[in-house]
């Protein structure tokens, strides 16, 4: 599934069957090539981050979660990764050979486990196995 498809998915609490929010964006650990959390909008209170570990399923039409009580206000490492500047979309992509290969337009991920499969960049598709990390300047990928 692509980030562009997953965005806007309603997040439903299975215990109460009510909507606890909508997926606004994906929080990624680039060095692990993995989605680690979702930032939601329209949540009942200030806590708006859902850790991937607390997701029951990321389905084709909705995300399920036991209850709204699992939403958190991020701290520590998760807070750092949740920073908007660390969002993958729009990020400059640089190879370790020092060449700019474009910007991230979209990301293809596995909804079963949150692993990132491909980056879709303006310069073409980049396999997630090439990901090195995300810094202040660019998302680094191994030179192909």
């Amino acid at each position: 599934m692509r980030f562009s498809e997953g965005r806007g998915h309603p997040v439903v609490g299975t215990e109460t069957a009510d909507t606890v929010g909508k997926v606004q964006r994906f929080v990624v650990d680039a060095s692990q090539a993995r989605v680690v959390a979702l930032v939601l909008k329209k949540t009942p209170d200030k806590a708006d981050v859902l850790r991937w570990a607390d997701v029951i399923t990321f389905g084709p039409d909705a995300v399920t979660v036991p209850s709204a009580g699992l939403l958190v206000e991020p701290d520590g490492e998760l807070a750092r990764l949740t920073n908007k500047k660390r969002s993958l979309l729009g990020q400059r992509v640089l190879t370790d050979a020092g060449d700019n290969i474009g910007e991230v337009d979209d990301v293809d991920f596995d909804p079963a486990d949150g692993s990132i499969r491909h980056l879709l960049t303006s310069g073409g598709e980049v396999d997630a196995a090439r990901l090195l990390g995300l810094g202040s300047y660019a998302l680094m990928v191994r030179h192909s």
């Binding site: 020092g98 060449d99 810094g135 202040s136 300047y137």
Partner: protein
């Protein structure tokens, strides 16, 4: 695969770690050795108001010099600026504005840029010059190949007369011109 690039394009290029953090930008290229190879870079901070940094980047710390950035492993490769400059034979900035003269006494023009051939090492392979009328009628900048043993120095720049036969006007064909010129020098045994 080697890549040709102009020194003026390298200046200002960000220095980025493999983790993607920009930690400096290139200020000047420092040349060393007898073959005009790049010994390292002096650095400036990132951002509009940032000035020169006290540390420099020796070539040995460069993981890659790419079209868009200089890649390093991390900031531990930096060395005091003065140590990086101490390795230099002459600073690259010195050749800008120098007159290029052939060994048979023809003024070719003034150096406006330096062309590097970047691979495992970065070597100076040519100058871009603002030509005199002797070389070009239309005043357009041209690229002139250099022998591979020519040191980059601030003195008057003297090139073999044969270089005139291998002048090109774009980088695309320049790599081949440099090779052909150097082959010619080897054949004639006139290389110094």
């Amino acid at each position: 695969m080697t890549v040709l690039m102009r020194v003026t394009e390298v200046s200002g290029r960000p220095v980025v770690t493999v983790r993607g953090d920009d930690v400096a930008q290139v200020r000047d290229v420092v040349y060393g050795g007898g073959n005009g190879e790049v010994a390292g870079f002096t650095l400036a901070g990132r951002g509009l108001l940032a000035g020169p940094l006290k540390h420099g980047l020796p070539w040995g710390g460069v993981r890659a010099l790419g079209r868009d950035a200089v890649i390093i492993d991390d900031e531990s490769v930096f060395q005091p600026r003065d140590e990086v400059i101490a390795r230099a034979q002459a600073k690259g900035g010195d050749v800008f504005g120098s007159q290029v003269l052939t060994d048979d006494g023809v003024e070719l023009g003034e150096v406006v840029d330096v062309v590097l051939d970047v691979d495992e090492y970065a070597d100076v392979v040519g100058y871009e010059i603002d030509p005199t009328e002797a070389l070009s009628k239309d005043n357009k900048r041209v690229l002139i190949p250099l022998p591979d043993t020519l040191a980059v120095s601030g003195e008057r720049l003297i090139v073999p007369a044969a270089a005139v036969d291998f002048v090109t006007d774009d980088l695309a064909g320049f790599g081949a011109a440099v090779e052909a010129f150097r082959d010619r020098l080897r054949e004639s045994g006139s290389q110094t």
